[in-house]
Symmetry: C2
Subunit: 297 residues, 2 copies
């Protein structure tokens, strides 16, 4: 797929088309590799193919660029989405956020059961590393991708962020503490999506670090704003969760107006990063920051 | 450490010394890499350093042999033990086996809480791949190790075995069905421990497949026998669990005597595999099958 050709001035249209194409490829691969009728495979397919905006795969694909091997990019993007999906499945468990709605459908433990949801998450996480280890790229690159993803997703990345997020419940913390939690909980994996795209596209992953950081923080602030302002039908997941759980967020700490100002600053910073990176002006990547910001109004 | 030198005629003595040395190295690495006072790191250290016989690391180390780089072998063996430990932490959760005793101590979710135990397991699994991806061996080898471990531990290996084991509860199934579940639930990861040792030791991993299969099945049959015959104090975990949960095991399907006969056959087969592999007669590896069998009497 040529993403430049697919570019429209409306990023949401581009993203919807991307998600549709991505899901088709994803489903074909899952039909090959997770094809059994076991409860585990059914739960994995249910969780993975439950819609989702596919922001992380889109980022990975956009950063990789048109010169990268499309099937390699797709499998690598699937690995990132598998990690994101496992984190949602485990987050939604009764012992964690105890949520019954995700991507407009019953959460995995509601559709199946808790034990299956725990195992489904475990299997999705493991599958992500299997996908990366068997990519059709040189071993040096594969091992770099495993390193990037394991560091971003693990005990000093996303999982630590989830732990700190739980610990912060009902605590009065500063905005910089909220930012530190968001950096781990959300930005780390989004940064990994960008870095994985960069490695596969033959770019210098470090060059993309600042953009990844800004877009990851923007994504989380917008998520906080949406949690406070949208309804569950719009979100496809339970709205008002952070407030109900008494979790500190950008909105609870800054207030809605200031959170929107902060999001707008992150959007401008991300756009300026893209200019510095010399991203082709026709690339849909340039439209992503404003698309994310736009969701919050 | 020269494991040949460390050999004694008593494998349990050798194993106790190995576990002691291994735990010291493990603790030093965790003090470096999981050193924060976060609840997550504390839970990970609690789960990883809670004793354990270290059978899988021992197998990995023995198969790697004396010519392999000891620090590489240790880190690879830690990766295998991290996967084993995560599987125990998640298995013990209320939604799974709901157990409060493991390795003679409170299970992780009892010592901390359920959310922390879920995240702890997730982080241990991710950490295993980080350990392998950052080993001091050529990228080709690292990627092979990630491939071996992810396949063994994932949706067509250990996690599937755990799902099938749950599904088989209260079902009347044949011995070959029990074997198929055990192959996935237990043997797959033990085989990975052997294969990882073989890759690091520069041996042909496929040559070790039959031995790994036999020793893995032997380990599980002995575990079934112990569950039915030993008490919780001896086991360091709740005894009689399989029977209480109405899970089909080698003992429930074959009866105790026939299960012991089957274990003895597996022991002989594993010893004969070691002979065919030309394992040095002075290696403690030769004593492992009878050590495992001996636990069941």
């Amino acid at each position: 797929m040529n993403y430049k050709k697919a570019m429209t001035t409306d990023f949401s249209e581009w993203l919807a088309q991307f998600a549709c194409d991505f899901d088709k490829q994803f489903e074909a691969i899952l039909n090959d590799e997770l094809s059994s009728d076991s409860r585990l495979h059914r739960a994995m397919r249910y969780a993975l193919l439950g819609g989702g905006k596919r922001i992380r795969p889109a980022l990975c694909t956009l950063v990789a660029g048109d010169n990268a091997n499309p099937s390699v990019v797709a499998r690598a993007a699937m690995a990132v989405e598998a990690v994101h999906t496992y984190s949602l499945v485990h987050d939604d468990l009764p012992a964690m956020d105890d949520d019954c709605l995700r991507r407009g459908r019953a959460t995995t433990h509601v559709e199946f059961d808790e034990a299956t949801a725990i195992l489904c998450g475990d299997a999705l996480l493991t599958y992500a590393f299997e996908l990366l280890a068997t990519l059709d790229v040189p071993a040096e690159q594969r091992v770099e991708l495993v390193r990037v993803l394991s560091r971003a997703a693990g005990h000093n990345g996303m999982v630590l962020g989830q732990q700190l997020d739980i610990d912060a419940t009902s605590q009065s913390i500063s905005f910089s503490d909220v930012q530190a939690i968001h950096q781990l909980k959300t930005t780390a994996l989004i940064t990994a999506a960008v870095q994985i795209g960069a490695v596969i596209g033959g770019h210098n992953a470090a060059d993309w670090g600042e953009f990844a950081e800004k877009i990851g923080m923007l994504f989380q602030v917008v998520d906080d704003i949406l949690d406070a302002t949208a309804d569950s039908r719009q979100l496809g997941k339970t709205a008002g969760k952070d407030n109900a759980a008494d979790k500190p967020t950008a909105v609870s700490v800054l207030g809605l107006d200031e959170a929107r100002d902060y999001a707008a600053q992150l959007c401008e910073a991300a756009k300026s990063n893209l200019q510095q990176l010399g991203v082709d002006s026709s690339s849909p990547t340039n439209l992503m920051p404003e698309f994310l910001l736009g969701r919050s109004f």
